[in-house]
């Protein structure tokens, strides 16, 4: 199977590899996939509590080259976006950017899931840290 140059580039020079402190209230962590399926992505975002802008993003991925590239690209794209803007990233955007073949579309789906999971984790933290506001609604 031939990989696109962009996949090869992300595979060889993955962006934003690493981990953020998952205990921090500003950090949202998404862990998606399963080892049995051959793909697990961990994507983390650090959100500015005042602006809701994603200031940092990190990932680690167990999976094929396309899975690594999809998650690497996802971290690039979410950085600098607000949480709501990041939610608008669709898996097909990743497919297009990386020229993924049909058998690798699930890698892009997983990357979108990872973004959503990270954001939802962060949102949950915000709700639990602001009980007064929640109960006031």
């Amino acid at each position: 199977m031939a990989y696109s140059d962009k996949v090869l580039d992300h595979y060889s020079n993955p962006r934003n590899v690493g981990s953020l402190d998952k205990a921090s209230t500003d950090v949202g962590t998404g862990l998606v996939g399963a080892p049995e399926c051959g793909d697990v992505m961990k994507l983390q975002i650090k959100v500015n509590p005042d602006t809701n802008v994603i200031e940092d993003a990190k990932f680690k991925t167990f999976g094929c080259g396309s899975a690594i590239a999809s998650s690497s690209l996802a971290t690039e794209w979410v950085k600098g976006k607000t949480v709501d803007e990041a939610l608008s990233i669709k898996n097909m955007d990743i497919v297009k950017e990386l020229a993924l073949p049909p058998v690798k579309i699930h890698c892009s789906v997983l990357a979108e899931d990872a973004i959503r999971a990270a954001i939802s984790d962060w949102k949950k933290k915000q709700e639990s840290t602001k009980p007064a506001e929640v109960s006031a609604k």
Partner: protein, 422 residues
């Protein structure tokens, strides 16, 4: 991973190593130059049809075919006229199983095989099930070998054939074919073995080992692609197979079609070389294989060998690198040609059924690499491969959330995984 001939460019690095390195000798082997040399006259000069009985072109071809048969026979301890020449092992397996099934239908309809067989055997058995045959698929033990007691229990009065491979193509383990042959003989059941990976690598003697039918192919023993043979025992007992290809009555009516003379010359020469060199070569290969294993296991933690090391082809190593996915590993070592049991490298998107049959978890099956060391690999290549594999695994583990979790002490088996990707 497929490589287009046009894009296959070699370059030389330190120690005289030429890249890419070929270490996938269970898939196929390069031709030995001595084999090619013997084949060449049979394309243009001695191009005759071995079935032409009335002119020297035909005689020359027939003579070459007879020499080829003798050489094949010598390698596996058989007498000469006991081979059906085929297009390769897939055809040999089909002919053995379908041919026996049809020929011995009166006697019974039960066939026994094992779950780790090659698809050429498994899919043939599955087809026969559609036609009313009963097939028992024996499980294998953790090391990859069938349990002889399971086999004993599986044989009943309707059993006509046991088909179990000599050596496995993925994990290289050697099934106890001598014991299986003896058991089958005692119980009056025919024994077919797919000898593709074992013949020419380890000693097999069809007479002493009580093998009734055996599939072999040229391209796994440094011969050409597209030619193989099926050994069919001629006496004690005399075994017959119904043809699956009808026509001009070649090969005593069991396989019609003009003989592939250059192919048979090549197969014969490949067998002759193996007869001469197998003993020494297997020591060399085992030495290289053990060197590769020791280098990898000395540097990396959490690597697991798939299949028993005790009964194994000398050139085979199949290792799972925990927390690293096989295809991404192949991508990182793209100047080395090896195979992976990862789903991503297969057409079916399922990880290797052979590794699953050993009880290897799907996660480790996804992480497996098969190294097939062959006649033309060198110690310098083995060292290069070991270094490249280790540094790539280390790099990918830095990327792996699973490795990070495992190092933090998380039991990955206890994690409730959020999503299923398939």
């Amino acid at each position: 991973m497929s490589t287009d001939v046009k894009t296959l460019e070699h370059r030389t690095v330190a120690n005289g190593i030429k890249l890419p390195i070929y270490m996938d000798n269970h898939a196929t082997t390069p031709m030995d130059p001595r084999v090619l040399e013997e084949m060449l006259p049979y394309f243009m000069e001695k191009f005759g049809n071995a079935a032409s009985r009335n002119h020297p072109f035909g005689w020359a071809a027939e003579e070459a075919v007879e020499l080829g048969r003798e050489r094949i026979a010598k390698l596996i301890g058989a007498t000469t006229k006991v081979f059906i020449i085929t297009s390769g092992a897939t055809e040999s397996d089909n002919l053995a199983i379908k041919g026996v099934a049809e020929m011995y239908r009166e006697k019974g309809n039960h066939i026994i095989t094992a779950v780790t067989e090659h698809k050429a055997v498994l899919d043939t058995c599955k087809r026969l099930e559609k036609y009313g045959y009963r097939v028992t698929y024996l499980p294998v033990q953790k090391g990859g070998l069938v349990d002889l007691d399971d086999l004993k229990r599986a044989i009943d009065d309707k059993t006509i054939l046991v088909t179990i491979m000599a050596a496995n193509n993925e994990i290289g383990v050697l099934q106890p074919w001598r014991e299986i042959g003896k058991l089958c003989r005692e119980r009056g059941v025919l024994f077919h073995t797919d000898g593709v990976q074992a013949v020419g690598k380890v000693p097999i003697d069809v007479i002493k080992d009580n093998i009734d039918l055996m599939s072999i192919t040229a391209h796994k023993i440094y011969g050409p692609k597209g030619v193989g043979a099926l050994y069919v025992r001629r006496k004690n007992p005399r075994v017959q197979v119904s043809p699956i290809i009808d026509g001009g009555g070649h090969e005593r009516g069991m396989r019609s079609g003009t003989l592939n003379v250059p192919g048979i010359v090549g197969l014969g020469k490949a067998c002759a070389i193996a007869t001469e060199e197998m003993a020494k070569e297997s020591c060399t290969l085992a030495g290289l294989r053990n060197r590769l294993k020791d280098k990898i296991m000395g540097r990396l933690d959490e690597v697991y060998i798939n299949g028993t090391m005790e009964h194994r082809l000398p050139g085979n190593l199949n290792i799972s690198f925990a927390y690293v996915e096989g295809e991404s590993l192949l991508m990182g070592i793209n100047d080395i040609a090896v195979s992976s049991g990862s789903a991503c490298t297969s057409a079916t998107l399922e990880p290797s059924y052979v590794l699953k049959a050993l009880g290897t978890g799907d996660d480790l099956a996804h992480s497996s690499i098969r190294f097939g060391i062959g006649r033309f690999n060198t110690e310098a290549e083995v060292d290069y491969v070991a270094d490249r594999v280790c540094e790539t695994v280390e790099r990918l583990r830095e990327l792996s959330p699973l490795y990070e979790m495992a190092k933090e002490g998380v039991d990955l088996k206890s994690v409730k995984w959020a999503a299923e990707s398939h």
